[in-house]
Amino acid sequence: MTFDRRNFLKLLGAGSGATLVGCATGTGTGTGAGAGAGGSLAMPKSSGKRVVVIGGGFGGSIAAKYIRMLDASIEVVLVERNRQFVSCPFSNLYIGGALKDMSSLTMGYDQLAANHGVKMVYDSVTAIDTANRTVTGASGTLAYDRLVLAPGIDFRTEELEGYDAATTPLAMPHAWKAGPQTQLLRQQLEAMRDGGTVVISIPPAPFRCPPGPYERASMVAMYLKAHKPRSKIVILDANPDIVSKAGLFRKGWAKHYAGMIDYRGAKRVTAVDVKARSVFVEGLEEVKGEVINVIPPQRAGDIARSAGLVGADKRWCPVNPTTFESTVAKGVHVIGDACVAGAMPKSGYSANSEAKVCATNLVAMMNGRETVEMSGINTCYSYITDKEAVSVAAVYAVKDGAIIAVPNSGGVSPDLSELEAVYASSWLKNILVEMST
């Protein structure tokens, strides 16, 4: 006697039919400080304490929310470029055709603002003065007592000869920031002939979402197998081997996409030729493709670099592992992909977890209270097909001044699993609802 799987999967489908945005709309009051149009950076400094959060992604939105939940006397201004956030997690499912649109990956900030009194400013920060504690954007300059910087990643395009930051992604999409780039890569796959070659180039670690490129290859393969079965995928990986969940991806590719994925390790792409539709490994070995997905080498978001917050590597922001306060500038906390968080990977769930640790200790510091040791989690799912997924999970703590994975915990799935694919969709729903309400 077993429960009919289809039964609950159907119910699951019915549940997710109400989009996240719709779900969020049902719970809030619809009005409140910062809801709707958003403010500007010309807001005068109130007499009280003010925290400015830059970036409304997996880290920044949660930091803004939790700071307000922990201490409503702190004014929190969240500065974000875009009115809508599009999740990178699950965007590979759109690229593979398992999601017909990106509505389930998209959220706004109105409910977050209304429910928690977070003041939204839709602007792009152009300068941070860490000495005078101000941030500047097109709409003005804003003073802060503490700053939370969650800018995500930008690209080291100068390491790719022939790559123009503005135009090359329009021909060779990175799709490593979800949105139009994701749609472009999907369109290119749809336009490709059967028998074409898709090239995916993977940068050296560390980069945003370690298993992401391999999940992408899986999702592209799923699409090609169904619609263009004579096509091939060539993966040029700058790393010696698959960076995350290696055994599971290999197993999944052998099971579902035998002969379709040509994985080549230690093949670093250093040059591109848009006109010839080629990339070059170490500047020499030319690889051609009809669709070329160049994921460039990465570093902390540009604003972190221009504010002088990156470390000796000139790429990422070193932080105190308990408070996430920059070790370079006082009063600035850096979370998410941009920071160096020890053993924690650059993932959405890590950013969510880091944001709560940061919020807890930032509020403690502003109130002259003792800080609390960090405890964090990462959970991350990757789809091999639209019905089978794998996961990696870990618990994190601080030891000897560094964030480590708690010994003998965590790890990857024992095998591909339909149940994990089901749980993964609830993962997305929960993490986006937590950010947006």
């Binding site: 006697m1 077993t2 429960f3 799987r5 039964n7 609950f8 119910l11 699951l12 019915a14 549940g15 997710s16 049902g26 929310k65 105190n320 308990t322 408070t323 306060e325 070790t327 769930y349 977890s353 709560k356 640790v357 807890t360 003792e370 800080t371 609390v372 040791e373 960090m374 405890s375 964090g376 989690i377 959970t379 996961s391 999970a393 870990a394 618990v395 601080v398 001044g401 994975a405 708690v406 003998n408 915990s409 965590g410 790890g411 799935s413 699993s417 149940l419 994990e420 089901v422 749980y423 969709s425 609830s426 993962w427 997305l428 729903k429 929960n430 993490i431 609802v433 937590e434 309400t437």
Partner: protein, 190 residues
């Protein structure tokens, strides 16, 4: 040189600052869970259980069994291994004190009514107060997501999750339709 000294000093200050931090509070531990289980343990994902309002004993027991592998899981066993039993107690205590998360889900009123009478006769001695509470370490089930409850029941029926003896006695004579009605009832309780 001056720069190096300043760096070393800064590093020292920060290191000693970190060393002064208090051990993780229950909130610190619980916040890490809420990315998947929702803020304060109120889940928005239909296959992820809400932890808000769950019984402390049930949470502690579940985490212990996840950790030992006695209870089947996909990801929870790997996560549970990162915590001590004292952490489980802190987490159980924290989530048990959160307000019950009322889920908005489409349920069939006829099934709910059928489940209501079935639970009275079969389940109410352990699943107390219409599933809002549980005897000893019996989990509260009120307002859980139906898909979550269905997955758990499927695991019980397939033997993947072991039923307590008393539950087995009650479940055996019931049909799948009866069980579905029971789950619909518990999902409906607010």
């Amino acid at each position: 040189m001056i720069r190096t000294t300043a760096w070393a000093l800064a590093a020292l200050t920060l290191a000693s600052g970190a060393a002064l931090a208090a051990p993780p509070t229950p909130e610190m531990l619980a916040n890490a869970c809420s990315g998947c289980h929702g803020t304060f343990g109120g889940s928005a994902g239909p296959t992820m259980p809400s932890l808000a309002g769950q019984s402390k004993e049930a949470i502690v027991e579940a985490m212990k069994k996840f950790k030992s592998g006695e209870r089947f899981s996909t990801i929870m066993g790997r996560l549970a291994k990162g915590y001590s039993e004292a952490d489980f107690v802190a987490l159980g205590d924290y989530f048990s004190k959160q307000k019950l998360h009322v889920t908005k889900q489409a349920l069939d009123p006829a099934q709910v009514a059928k489940g209501a009478s079935l639970q009275e006769a079969n389940c109410s001695r352990c699943h107390l107060e219409d599933g809002k509470e549980g005897k000893d370490d019996t989990p509260a089930m009120a307002s859980q997501w139906l898909p979550y409850l269905q997955i758990q029941m499927a695991q019980y029926l397939s033997g993947k999750r072991k039923m307590p003896e008393k539950m087995e006695e009650k479940v055996k004579p019931l049909s799948v339709a009866d069980l579905e009605a029971l789950l619909q009832f518990y999902a409906s309780v607010k």
